[in-house]
């Protein structure tokens, strides 16, 4: 499969189908978070990221800072042909490289994550490395809105602005939920774009389920000398009615009946 063809294979619907299938097989949760980012991941792996091969040193980097949604990333890697269906089926099995959180030993995963607040700092360093090497590669990061609770995220945000890391592109998965409740009830951060703007970033808001709009926003950001952040309005559990905006689906696995219903709903989209 050519790179162009494999990109076309990455759609939000296919990412969701993989997420549901492997979650059910492994009987593991974090489904709502993975569904929330499915379209951003599809936009990235379906077109934005310049990756000819996962081991190309000049490839764009991607840091899934909200590592608990790794299944959506594995789905994209599988759809691109960098991960076999057999490998994907090892998700959460013993001796598998595909755990709940992504590990850099898995080809296609650039940085290990899982501890929230860690990804943006590594990504900023990666962007600085690209610039110091005279490379045109770019670094994309996906953070959760609740991850903005972490002070380290803002340390990295200040650093990136200070150094004008315009090769750094951050998506905030703004689904309004975190592990134990709604962000508005825990640490409200509904003006994230404004806050990043105040930190010296090129900050935009967009619909995190509109793949063409995501691509257009990244293209539009090129040329701005600041680091870029796209605060993406997303829906937790998007595509599955009984998971939508329900806290329980942060951790909960599906029953067989729930799986069938979820797959049917995704197939109808």
């Amino acid at each position: 499969m050519s790179t162009a063809d494999s990109r076309l294979a990455v759609t939000g619907r296919r990412v969701r189908e993989h997420v549901l299938r492997e979650s059910r097989r492994a009987n593991v949760g974090h489904i709502g978070s993975a569904l929330s980012i499915a379209d951003i991941v599809a936009a990235l792996y379906g077109g934005i990221l310049r990756i000819e091969a996962p081991d190309d040193p000049e490839r764009d980097r991607f840091v899934l800072s909200k590592g608990h949604a790794a299944l959506a990333l594995y789905a994209a890697l599988a759809l691109r042909g960098w991960l076999s269906e057999d490998q994907l089926a090892t998700y959460c099995g013993d001796d598998s490289l595909l755990g709940v959180h992504p590990e850099a030993d898995l080809p296609g995963v650039d940085f290990s994550t899982g501890s929230l607040g860690h990804g943006l700092a590594m990504a900023a360093g990666s962007a600085l490395a690209a610039r110091k090497s005279g490379s045109s590669r770019r670094v994309f990061v996906l953070v959760s809105d609740a991850e903005l609770n972490e002070g380290s995220t803002w340390e990295a945000a200040m650093f990136a602005a200070q150094h004008g890391l315009s090769n750094l592109y951050v998506f905030v998965d703004s689904n309004g939920q975190q592990a134990l409740g709604f962000t508005r009830d825990i640490i409200a951060i509904e003006n994230a774009a404004e806050r990043f703007g105040a930190f010296g970033w090129d900050a935009r808001e967009l619909d995190g389920h509109d793949v063409p709009a995501i691509r257009a926003a990244v293209e539009d950001a090129v040329g701005d000398p600041r680091p870029h952040v796209f605060v993406a309005r997303t829906v937790f559990g998007r595509g599955v009615s009984f998971m939508t905006s329900r806290i329980k689906w942060h951790y909960w696995p599906m029953s067989a009946d729930e799986f069938d219903q979820a797959m049917n709903e995704i197939a109808a989209t």
């Binding site: 040193p57 980097r61 850099a104 650039d110 940085f111 290990s112 994550t113 899982g114 501890s115 860690h118 943006l120 700092a121 590594m122 990504a123 900023a124 360093g125 990666s126 962007a127 600085l128 490395a129 690209a130 110091k132 090497s133 670094v139 380290s152 340390e155 990295a156 200040m158 650093f159 200070q162």
Partner: protein, 309 residues
């Protein structure tokens, strides 16, 4: 040792442009030899130590060899989890340099004391820890390990004048350096307190006791074989470190004796009390914790002559 660090790293970095020096806004009158000579390889990341480690992880993934400079607790402990999930987990060549080993920042108080950095980091088998005893040994260690394949923690002092008799700057990864051979006991020292251990050996010699002095400057790999040999050939080992006795050198020696089945008596000299509010010079703290040459010698004498210690 700070000047030796800056000068040696400048030499290394001139020859290899992958070498970068990052600081979390510390190193006034210390890092200028590097920052003046190689401004493109120097970054002050601001007062943000965990971010510095995160940035360095990204730089190392991109092929660079970043050295990160701060005072020991800020370098090693503030970003502890970023070290764990960053360079250690990714097996990336990030180098953390903690200055102010032990009580060197005496009057700055407990927030600045480097008495738990090596102890906290030693459990990580993938992290090479280097604890030089004198500037000459730091230079050798840097030249031997700057391109080590994996992360490194360098625990360095400020004092540029300190020398350990007989060491002559020798350094070997995973080995102890014997600077003095004796029969009655072996003093095993880490960091700049090695000079105090040598002084204690002189005092003991005047009392008719013959002490071996061994310097431990690396963990992970640790000089287990060398320490086991010392345990087998001496009836008493005394560990000496400006560090809590649990976790670093004292623990290593205890574990080694036990695992070798040597049955040798061990006295661990180091910090045993919680931090206290009253501050003072390094000498004050050494006296408080019994870390100076006189206290070390007195402790050994009391033991060897059967007094309760």
């Amino acid at each position: 040792m700070r000047a030796t660090f800056a000068n040696t790293l400048t030499e290394i970095a001139r020859a290899d442009r992958r070498v970068l020096l990052l600081t979390a806004d510390l190193g006034y009158m210390a890092l200028e030899p590097f920052s003046d000579a190689l401004p493109d390889q120097f970054v002050n990341v601001g007062v943000a130590e965990q971010n510095m480690v995160g940035i360095a992880t990204g730089l190392a993934e991109g092929g660079f060899l970043p050295f990160l400079y701060s005072i020991a607790p800020f370098a090693a402990l503030r970003p502890y989890e970023f070290l764990r999930n960053g360079p250690i987990l990714h097996r990336l060549p990030v180098r953390i340099v903690g200055v102010g080993a032990g009580f060197e920042y005496g009057t700055a108080g407990p927030s600045h004391h480097g008495i738990d950095d090596a102890a906290a980091l030693r459990p990580h088998p993938g992290l090479l820890i280097v604890t030089p005893a004198e500037p000459g040994q730091l230079r050798s260690a840097l030249l031997a390990t700057w391109d080590h394949d994996g992360p490194v923690y360098y625990r360095i002092g400020k004092d540029e004048r300190i020398t350990v008799p007989g060491l002559n700057g020798r350094f070997r990864t995973g080995r102890a350096e014997i600077v003095r051979e004796g029969r009655d006991l072996a003093l095993v020292a880490m960091g700049a307190l090695a000079a105090e251990a040598c002084g204690a050996a002189d005092l003991l010699a005047a009392q008719g006791l013959s002490a071996t002095v061994a310097i431990v400057s690396t963990f992970n790999p640790s000089p287990v074989e060398d320490l086991a040999a010392l345990a087998r050939s001496h009836s008493l080992l005394v560990s000496v470190e400006a560090q809590y006795v649990n976790g670093a050198l004292g623990s290593l020696v205890a574990e080694t004796i036990a695992e070798a089945g040597a049955g040798t008596r061990l006295v661990r000299i180091g910090v045993r009390r919680p931090p206290q509010a009253r501050s003072g010079s390094q000498t004050f703290y050494h006296a408080l914790h019994g870390l100076g040459r006189d206290a070390i010698a007195a402790r050994v004498l009391a033991l060897m002559t059967g007094e309760r210690i």
